[in-house]
């Protein structure tokens, strides 16, 4: 207990000076003149606006990735005291003095710098020599593309950092498995693996590929563990449970945590509100919440409501009607009912108000006490401003001839009786007598006579319909679709008997009091779903490229150009490293299959332990490259060179692995080995030279003359910007 009284407390520090040195040069290379250029560089324009949203606590929706990455960038802004007041509209715009450029760029730069000692550690943990580990770190150090990407307010370097951290901590964990299972460090590294994985996924969805790779390796190891008959059943079970908790449960919880913090941070309504459901919007401060705050919850007979379509595509809109009628004859010669148009209108308007009426009574006001409308009730919907009834009948809709036209019934056409009864079908009901609730209830309106369902077809009406959206009655409801579902957004109890009074009432803003809160899970699920389904505009970009261009570095991206001189930042890789990394990859694969086939015929070229090391290094490095690269062939979004950087990092790790293997096992004599080492040194100096040559484009600090720039254009496809004077 009190052992420390008897013996002195001794702290033995074991400092690897290699790591310290690597960290130092890493920091130097990434942090040098970090605040330069003081202008918006490439995708900073994109991430910057989200940082501003965080600073102003305004809700936004970004389909490109989960919020953790944005939050990390915003943290830099928070620490630097950024107030969010900057207009992110143009690449190259000068930052105003209130933008703390240095602290905004600090975090990506730090992660980029720390990736270097981590590469060193990973190779050591894989069981390779210090020399190989140093090699990997030094290659990372002089990779121009990684430097460029780390020095700006971008997320790739953060992603790479967490990817490497996940791999490193898993290796540390699995190495301590042999000696000290369930020790403190064992737990630490296991937990850190899970945390790093979830952070990687939280920064970009792409992180999931590395997570899956780590999971796959972990499950293979776990399978061997199950086969280990020296362990008791209970022990195996404990091992499995610990892994499941750390690698499955913790990442899930962490992922939820990111969203939790995100939703706490951005609580004010903003420009992306419209995409979300009414309930979600009402949970934000300002915006819809200001309008709906204090609305009565239960819709009653006589309620005045606006009905919003839940699907909301192509645009969110409200059920609408106006004085104009459908044209007698359409362009294509078909006839219509010539009754009052019913459309869906994407703007707030007094014509969006409808009154829920009991078919058995005449009055349009709410009784005291209010009589709530329930699931299955038959109602009529009266358009507030024109007092006409929502109606549908067996007439083809203007643009969707297979569906029925929906109109507000005008009684001068005697040949068509009114069919204005609708049955209320609450989709998300919990019981069959559920009351129709404002915002929360998602309802379908089923026509009583024809069982058609009120639906937003998504088509824009021509001029006679003022380009508003078409609303139809879907006869063949082929299953549930959100375009048939509506919810009440604004709501108040109608009080006026007279039409004139009522019109005044409709014009006045709604105000009464009930507040409602959506649970975190409901908000999370909706936000996640909208983020995944948000249509990214798949625009072609000047610098977009296809995955095939990446391996050979056949593409480049101009990030920034000095407004006056030709100093510029250009995303370009160190071509020597790219080429040799790809070559190493090929060599690895060929050697691997060669060894594999020979081993199958019981010929072992290399000792068992170095074979196992070889396989594990390949699984993590070559596998890491494959999982971070190959999926891009199946993606339809716009792709850029920087998407390749995570894959490239793994490829760089593989390079020293292959080199050491060749030197250890394929160079048979000492002479060959020395020769090979000399070659490697020559090759590395060559890489250094390339780094140095491309450095002006990486840091953008030196203005090169047009002839120098032309000389740098080693490939025709590199778009280096040359000013014409």
């Amino acid at each position: 207990m009190l052992g420390f009284l008897k013996r002195p407390v001794v702290v033995t520090a074991d400092i690897n000076l290699n790591v310290v040195a690597l960290t130092a040069v890493g920091l130097l290379s990434r942090l040098w003149h970090l605040a330069y250029p003081r202008a918006v560089v490439f995708d900073e324009v994109y991430y910057g606006q989200y940082i501003s949203f965080y600073m102003k606590r305004i809700f936004f929706l970004d389909g490109s990735g989960p919020p953790f990455g944005h939050m990390l960038l915003a943290l830099g802004g928070y620490l630097g005291g950024f107030d969010g007041n900057f207009l992110w509209n143009r690449i190259g715009a000068e930052y105003s003095s209130n933008v703390p450029v240095w602290s905004l760029r600090l975090l990506p730069a730090l992660t980029g710098a720390f990736s270097i000692p981590m590469a060193y550690q990973i190779l050591l943990e894989l069981g390779f020599s210090h020399c190989a580990a140093m090699g990997a770190a030094l290659l990372m150090l002089i990779e121009n593309a990684l430097i460029t990407q780390s020095r700006l307010m971008l997320l790739e370097s953060v992603l790479i950092f967490f990817n490497l951290l996940a791999v490193l901590s898993y290796l540390k964990f699995s190495n301590s498995q042999k000696h000290r299972p369930f020790s403190l460090s064992w737990w630490f590294w296991l937990m850190l693996t899970g945390v790093a994985c979830s952070c990687a996924v939280g920064v970009k969805y792409m992180g999931i590929f590395t997570y899956l790779l780590v999971l796959a390796v972990a499950s293979v190891h776990a399978w061997h563990l199950i086969g280990d008959q020296t362990l008791s059943n209970v022990c195996v079970l404990c091992h499995l449970l610990a892994r499941a908790a750390a690698l499955l449960v913790i990442p899930t919880l962490m992922y939820l945590l990111f969203f939790y913090v995100h939703l706490i941070l951005v609580y004010r309504s903003g420009p992306h509100d419209q995409i979300m459901s009414s309930a979600f919007q009402a949970s934000l401060e300002g915006g819809l919440a200001r309008i709906t705050q204090g609305q009565p919850l239960e819709v009653a007979y006589g309620s005045q409501v606006t009905l919003k379509n839940v699907f909301g595509k192509p645009v969110p809109c409200w059920l609408h009607s106006h004085q104009s009628t459908y044209p007698m004859i359409y362009e294509n010669g078909r006839g219509s009912s010539h009754q009052q148009q019913v459309t869906c209108y994407p703007f707030k308007d007094v014509n969006n108000w409808w009154i829920v009426k009991d078919p058995g009574r005449h009055q349009l006001v709410v009784n005291n006490p209010p009589r709530p409308v329930r699931h299955g009730d038959v109602v009529q919907l009266v358009h507030g401003m024109t007092t006409r009834f929502l109606n549908t009948h067996d007439v083809a809709a203007p643009l969707s001839p297979h569906s029925q036209e929906v109109s507000c019934y005008v009684d001068y056409n005697i040949s068509m009786p009114s069919q204005n009864l609708w049955r209320l079908d609450i989709v998300n009901r919990e019981s069959d007598t559920e009351v129709w609730k404002t915002i929360l209830s998602e309802v379908r309106l089923v026509h009583v006579n024809t069982s058609a369902v009120l639906k937003l077809s998504g088509a824009h009406l021509p001029d006679w319909g003022f380009q508003q959206l078409e609303v139809v009655g879907e006869k063949l409801s082929r299953g549930y679709h959100e375009s048939m579902v509506w919810n009440v957004e604004e709501h108040r109890y109608g009080k006026s008997q007279e039409q004139k009074e009522r019109e005044l009432e409709l014009h006045s803003p709604a105000q009464m009091d009930v507040s409602r809160n959506l649970s975190f899970m409901a908000r999370f699920l909706e936000l996640q779903w909208r983020m995944l389904t948000a249509k990214s505009d798949d625009s072609e970009h000047k610098y977009s490229s296809s995955p095939l261009d990446w391996v050979t570095l056949d593409t480049s991206i101009a990030y920034w150009l000095h407004p006056r001189t030709s100093a510029q930042i250009h995303l370009l890789g160190n071509i020597v490293i790219w080429a040799s990394a790809s070559l190493a990859m090929v060599v690895y694969v060929l050697l691997f299959f060669w060894y594999l086939l020979r081993r199958r015929r019981s010929i072992c070229d290399i000792p068992e332990d170095s074979w196992l090391r070889w396989v594990l290094a390949g699984a993590l490095c070559a596998g890491g490259w494959a999982v971070n690269y190959l999926p891009f062939f199946m993606m339809e979004k716009t792709l850029f060179l920087y998407h390749y950087l995570p894959a490239l990092t793994f490829q760089i790790l593989l390079l020293p692995v292959v080199l050491q293997h060749v030197s250890d096992h394929l160079c048979r004599s000492q002479l060959l080995r020395s020769l090979f080492s000399a070659l490697v040194v020559a090759w590395y100096s060559c890489a250094c030279h390339v780094f140095n040559t491309l450095r002006p484009l990486t840091y953008g600090d030196k203005s090169l003359s047009p002839s120098e720039l032309k000389a740098l254009r080693w490939k025709d496809s590199w778009d280096i910007l040359i000013r014409k004077h």
Partner: protein, 750 residues
Amino acid sequence: MPPAVGGGPAGSEPRPRRGRAGVEGARAVGPDVGAEPAARSPKRPARGSRCTEAAGRWTLLTLVTLLSFATRFHRLDEPRHICWDETHFGKMGSYYINRTFFFDVHPPLGKMLIGLAGYLSGYDGTFLFQKPGDKYEHHNYMGMRGFCAFLGSLLVPFAYLTVLELSKSFPAALLTAALLTFDTGCLTLSQYILLDPILMFFIMAAMLSMVKYNSCANRPFSAPWWFWLSLTGINLAGALGVKFVGLFIILQVGWNTISDLWHLFGDLSLSVVTVGKHLTARILCLIALPLTLYTATYAIHFMVLNKSGPGDGFFSSAFQARLSGNNLHNASIPEHLAYGSVITVKNLRMAIGYLHSHRHLYPEGIGARQQQVTTYLHKDYNNLWIIKKHNTNADPLDPSIPVEFVRHGDIVRLEHKETSRNLHSHYHEAPLTRKHYQVTGYGINGTGDSNDFWRIEVINRKFGNRIKVLRSRIRLIHLVTGCVLGSSGKVLPKWGWEQLEVTCTPYLKETLNSIWNVEDHINPKLPNISLDVLQPTFPEILLESHMVMIRGNNGLKPKDNEFTSKPWHWPINYQGLRFSGINDTDFRVYLLGNPVIWWLNLLSIALYLLLGSIIAVAVQRGTHLPAEVEGLSQVLLQGGGQLLLGWMLHYFPFFLMGRILYFHHYFPAMLFSSMLTGILWDTLLRLCAWSLASSFLARGVYMVGILSLLLGTAYSFYLFHPLAYGMVGPLAQDPGSPMAGLRWLESWDF
């Protein structure tokens, strides 16, 4: 009931493997149970029992086959009108009989077989197959339906034999056969002129021959070994030749072959030369043979279809010259482009089509409200453009003006012949592609502005600076903005009649999208010259038709605001497909799986995964299994594993597909899942029986289990058969309906 009869022989020998185990000792339950050839087993026991066993085996197979044929051919002629996709595939069969060229997104073999069946049964190809519901009248459609039903019926005996081979258990095979025979979905899908029965036939045949071939593994290079190996290859070619999803069974066979070779390679008793022979045999039978056959189907396809038809426009100009009746066939047109020529301009990228315009404006909010310019795949008057000088509006066809040829680098104006508007571009954003400029038709009677001027550039100038019809690859560069005319290949929404978008792209990338050639050419002032249009070689045709098919498949995108079938709907039988009829007076056929069978399949997959992982973990932990359980778990892990792989391969890829999906895409996977169910329940019941002490009780439990499953499926078929065979009368909500009370899910609309 037939299944009860089927249950009889099974009852007499509920555990064939165990019976044999008595003779052969532990060998039969050893790990090589799966490889034990079925054909050899009758030789071993005494003569009498051998005869009865063989007789029983054949009777059972015959019974299963007969029952399958009886169910599939029952009321095959009903309804006497076009159902669902018969309108496509019947039509395409007719095209083969009429030898007119058409385009479809699927490879040709299936439709060729349909055409052949129609031809042989005396159908003359005159029926139009216009839309579902059209009456067949006097046309002979039974040949084609009969052919599909015949292939569909063979699925059941194939599945029966596959499961028998994998599990060596008659009850498992019988159960599988019953599941498939009594599944209303398989039945419905087999009764019409569709590609699915043909596809499933080839898939199942490939699976069966693969399994058969696996059991010949101990007699390599024997006659049956070669037979089954090459049959596998043939069936693979068939499956891929019908639909591209045939790729999945190829993956399965490929995986099986690789693991097989891996085992052979690891067997040190075999010399490397022997392994090399094995490898060569597989390359021959599973790669070379199928490829040859697959290519051969295309060769036949192009040989048969030699007349111009509705599919011409999808293909390049050179390709069209092959088709008799096409205006490029033995074409005689002016050779070089001159001012005043009337031309059609075709994009060089496959399946983009002709530069087109029509009297409709871009809708408000989408660029300038000027006339639309699109690309269109069909031949049409609106594809005609007149090429004019940029600075004069004089009619170049005036005989007093000398002919002036268009040259590389000239500034020209393209006037749309029907509407007299000029091809025009300006700094408005294109409708779909961001950062590209909009292309419109502008001006009145050829008078526009400077935005109508284009510089014409010839890329391959080996024919000189003139522009040669069909041969010259040209680019049109907008003079004012410097952008290049191209098609993005994106489908415009309804306002653009779902034609493809034309843009002017500011990025001068070298893609085929912005390269065009001149196809039709009319100029009365020039002499017509018979052109030896570059005849494409067969590999070029093959490549081109694949590109066109792939683009066609990618073009089948689901629309927003429409309900579409999702892959997760399928195994739970969430919603069917209406084959025919809507109202209560119509003859209604509804494609829906027998819910009892489908939900049993679903449960079985879950149970299989559970049981499989328990056994796998137990083995990995080194638990010593009793011999009996060891044998059963081998069947479960190896035989069942293959089937599970088949199910996964035929199901999961659909989650990644962007194209529009339909319920019937699940049926190949459903075949595998039914076979898995057969093996799983047989094994499960055997394990239950084994765990019981008394052998009498054990046998009873086993028998009752199998029988109740067989009878249960038969009864559910009795309940749901109107879905498949068709029904008239009130809808299911009505108590008087044949389906009253059977609408178990809200989403089934019958």
